[in-house]
Amino acid sequence: MAATARSALLKYLRVPVKPSLPSNPLPFTLLLRRFSEEVRGSFLDKSEVTDRVVSVVKNFQKVEPSKVTPNAHFQNDLGLDSLDTVEIVMALEEEFGFEIPDNEADKISSIDLAVDFIASHPQAK
């Protein structure tokens, strides 16, 4: 599972490599900041999380993409049942590369709840 999630993620991520060192070396403060972020685990930007969650839900086959808004409720607004919700949360796990435990997953019933949970989770990638 980890391998699939990882390869899906690696397919998704493309970091442009710029040979920047000789021309303008990184300022010392930036190096420091990077180091400290690595130590405490970094949180994803909330608006980025929202965009990615919205696009995962839009790609879900049973959902009418035009109904998907950042505060749509899976059952009330999108007409999904609890089994669909399980499938969506599983798709979010693959998108963000970490496992959501059952008791947390059961609470995620809308897009904004999903965004809050993922944005507050340091392991989300």
Binding site: M1, D81, L83, V86, E87, D102, D106
Partner: protein, 100 residues
């Protein structure tokens, strides 16, 4: 499983069913993409069929289905198992897995 406008409150039994469903989808991730797709569709249609056909108050039968499902999930988790041969129609004793 029904919707309604009240905030969703899941019963203990509903949580068990959803956890079992999640378990099947997780186990399917470890299979080849083709097997995974087949397993996902069999599992999804089986859960949906029971959600519609089984009386939500028939606790004894739902408990039986949960127990059967857990056994089937254990077999699916074995690396040798590549699929579920039609959960729904085979007799419970030999319903899972082309080979053990």
């Amino acid at each position: 499983m029904g919707g309604g406008n009240a905030p969703r409150r899941l019963s203990g039994m509903q949580k068990q069913v959803l956890a079992l469903y999640r378990g099947f989808l997780r186990a399917a991730r470890s299979k080849s993409p083709d097997d995974r797709r087949r397993i996902d569709s069999v599992v999804s249609s089986e859960f949906r069929r029971n959600a519609h056909q089984v009386d939500r108050k028939n606790f004894l039968y739902i408990e039986y289905l949960l127990r059967r499902g857990k056994k089937q999930l254990d077999q699916l988790k074995s690396p040798d198992t590549t699929g579920l041969s039609s959960l729904s129609f085979a007799p419970p004793s030999q319903s899972v897995g082309s080979h053990k």
